[in-house]
Every structure is written in C-alpha cells, then in structure tokens.
Amino acid sequence: MNCSFTEKISSLIDGELSATQAREVERHLLTCSDCEQLRADFLNLRSQITSFETSLQPEVQNRALKKILAGPRRAPARGLQWNFGTQALGFAMLLIVAAIIGFVVYQKSNNQRGQKDVAVVVQTPSPVPAATIEHGKQPNAKESPEPQTSPNKNNEDKSPRQAPNKRPIVREPKPGEQFATIPEPTIPGPVRSADAETMTAMHFETSERLLLAFKNVRLDEPTAAEEVGYERKRAKQLVYQNMLLKREADAAGDVQISSLLENLEPILIDIANLPDRPDENTVRAIRERVERKNIVGLLRVNSMALARALD
C-alpha cells in the first residue's frame, strides 16, 4: 500500500493531528478504501492490545503497598526473593518446584474429573467473586492500611456509573479491577435497536477523537484559534447527538450508556462554548475534567464493546 496518508492515519486515530490535517485525512478516508481499511485494522489492533488483562491479584497489590509504606529498606523486595546466590539454594528451589509441579498435575487430573459438576471455582481469598465487584468497592481497598485515605482516588466514586450494570463489559478496567471477571458480552435484556447502538458506538468514537485532539491543542501555536474553532464546531454537532442518544438510552433503560453520555455532555458543551481565543486555564480545566473522569478511556471501551456486541 503506497498511499501517502498511511502514516497520518496512525496519528489520526491517536488524535495527534492538527485540526486542519485531521480534516484533510478524514476527507481522504472517504475516497480511499485502502486507507479506510488500514484505519479499521489499526483500531482492531488497538482493541486487541487493550483487551489484555493482567493477572494481578488484589492481595498482591495490597501487600506491595504495605511493604513500600512500611518505610525505607536496604534490600528491595524483589531481591529478597532471588538474591540467594548459592547453588545449594538454587538446587533446593528446583526440587521444591518439581514437587509443586507434580502436585499441581496430580490435582489437575483429579479436578478435571469433577469439574463439570462444579459451577464456580473460587479459590481466591478474595471475599467477593470478581464478577460482582463494583466501582468504589475495590477488593484491594479492603485490606489497604488506609482505605479511607483515597477519597477521590477513584473518579467513579462520584460517577453515576455505580448504578447496577446492565452491560458489564463496558467498564474501563480501573486500578485493582483489571482482574475482575468480565462477563461475556451477552446481549442484555433491555433491547436497544441495532441502529441506536451503532449510532452510539460511532458517537463514542467521534467524541473520543475530539477529546484526544482537544487534549493536544497547543495554545501557544499560531494555529490554535483555528484548531479551537474546529473542535468547537465538532463539539456543537456532538452535543445534540449526545442529547438524543442519552434520551434513547434512558428510554431503553441502559443506565451504563446513559450515565456515560451524561458525563460527556457538560464537557462537550464547555468545548462548544469556548471563545475564539480561550485562556489557558479554561482549556486546562476542561482537560483535567476529562482526565479525572477518564472519559476518553470509557468512550474507547464502550465503543469497542458496542461494536463487538453488534458483530
């Protein structure tokens, strides 16, 4: 593929192009199917990479925090595990490992026989099955030495997304819950039309691009006024769409989507109402709100989840 736009498409999906360049690339995408395919492929790659789940356990996280806060130490925690150095210890460790493997294999072969009858295998000391973890109730916070010390550590605490999830997959994995079981994207009970879901997914994607581009506007550059003007125009268009989609999501009882749209709305309105030459503080305040509420991440996860559900 030899199109001169290929590199710019990568920057476009990252929101790293100026308004003028972004417009130019978007226009090009309408006419070049190769580039459109490239963009879709890049987004698909993104979706795969972000779907990676770490196997971190809440207990491990809490232990690590306790160790660090316990005060300065001579030997780093990792060193304690492996800096034994002597061959004898290494050999002993190998023997232990071999014994463990044998034990595990033995146990597995035993388990496999009875597995079909076991509905849920919960061996973790975590008191709550991961699938039921709610925002603001991270299991890791339970054992934290100072759970009350993070009143605003989790922006979702204030967010209306605490409402019961109808679409469990659409949450942005936040610290401590990457390991939460994300249920299969089963089609939820309350039915929203495929059209509405497609519109919502597209709306999320466009809004994400807008917010990324807005994040990258540099006010000290001569083109800043033009860029702000462009983002403002796009925000105006999105505000109306946002309102309609929110109404639709409310009617369908989709609390998750509705609350995300509700969070997005004031931000779009603020961008749409920016003056030609906004002062740095105003722009920074909007950016900080976007960051604090993790809007970009949520939009990304939701648009992907919706797109996946539609597939």
Binding site: E7, F52, S55, V60, A64, P76, V97, G176
Partner: protein, 179 residues
C-alpha cells in the same frame, strides 16, 4: 507526612495495576516478575523521588524506571525466573470459571505473542499509547526520545503487526480451503 502517604497511596492504587500490565506486555508475560518490577519502581519512587517530583511527573517517572528495569531483565538470561513464573502462574488462584479463564488466557497469549515480534522500543511506545493513553509528547518524555520518533515507532509497530496479522489470516484461510 500522613498526607504524603495518602497521596502516594492514591497514586499507587491508580497506577500499580497499569504498570503491571505494561511490564507484563513488555516482558512477554511473566506476571510475577512484572509485579515485582512494578513494586520495585514504586519503592524507588517512595524512597528517592517522592516529594521532590511534581505529582504529575511521578507517573512518567515510574514508567521510565520500570521500563529500564525491564530492559535489564532482557539482558539477563534467566530461565529460573521463567520456570518460577510458570509455576506461580499455574498455582495462581482463579476467580473465573474454566472456560472464561481459558478464553482470557488465549487472548492474552495472542496479544503477547504478537507484541513480542516488535523491537522493544516500538513495543514500549505502542503500549504506552494504546494501554496507557499517553500522548506522543508524554511517551517521548517517558522513553526519552523525540515526539517524531514516537510517531514513527508507533506507526511502524502498527504496520508491522497489521502485516503479520494479515499473513496469519491468509494462512488460516488457505488452511480452511485446503480442508
């Protein structure tokens, strides 16, 4: 002091899991090692730089330190780590049912395998972009490279992964036709 600890706790709760994920992807799996390195990075931050760094900078500092540690790990040839990691992985308590666990593992393995085909600098830049949502400027700060290099690295990483995936899907198509 207490408020410093509170702030540190907040930062830790916010970024420790992401740092673990970043390291895990960078190291090609090896979750326990990734968690140790993430802990070590936070420990260093707490011991040396906390209080002197602006809070906004701490995140970039962490990623920079963690990535350097990961590079040191690449240099060691340490089969014992791998063996130990494998055992810990097998012993890890599972909270999902076996099918879900299998699916997640398959997906993770595919992502890791895919990422391992990239040079380390491209992989780090791509991960910081896709998983951590850093801007090119921020990635440049973390990796200590220019913004234009970040842009090129990310583009090349994507292009190379895309090519690889299209080849793979071509092979599987041929295999299906063959059957």
């Amino acid at each position: 002091m207490a408020s410093e600890d509170e702030e540190f706790t907040m930062l830790f709760q916010d970024f420790y899991p992401s740092l673990c994920r970043f390291l895990e992807c960078l190291l090609g799996g090896r979750a326990p090692l990734a968690q140790d390195l993430a802990q070590e990075s936070f420990l260093q931050l707490h011991r040396t730089a906390w209080g002197t760094l602006p809070v906004g900078e701490a995140r970039f500092w962490l990623y920079r330190v963690a990535r350097n540690m990961a590079i040191n790990e690449f240099r060691k040839s340490n089969t014992r780590y791998r063996l130990f990691d494998r055992v810990v992985e097998v012993m890890r308590p599972r909270a999902r049912n076996p099918e879900q666990e299998y699916e997640v593992q398959e997906r993770n393995a595919m992502v890791l395998e895919m990422l391992q085909t990239l040079p380390e600098d491209q992989r780090a830049a791509l991960l910081l972009r896709e998983q951590e949502q850093l801007s090119y400027r921020e990635i440049g700060q973390v990796l200590n490279i220019s913004e234009s290099k970040v842009k090129i690295d990310i583009f090349r990483a994507r292009a190379s992964l895309r090519e690889r995936l299209s080849k793979l899907s071509g092979i599987s198509r041929v295999a299906r036709i063959g059957n």
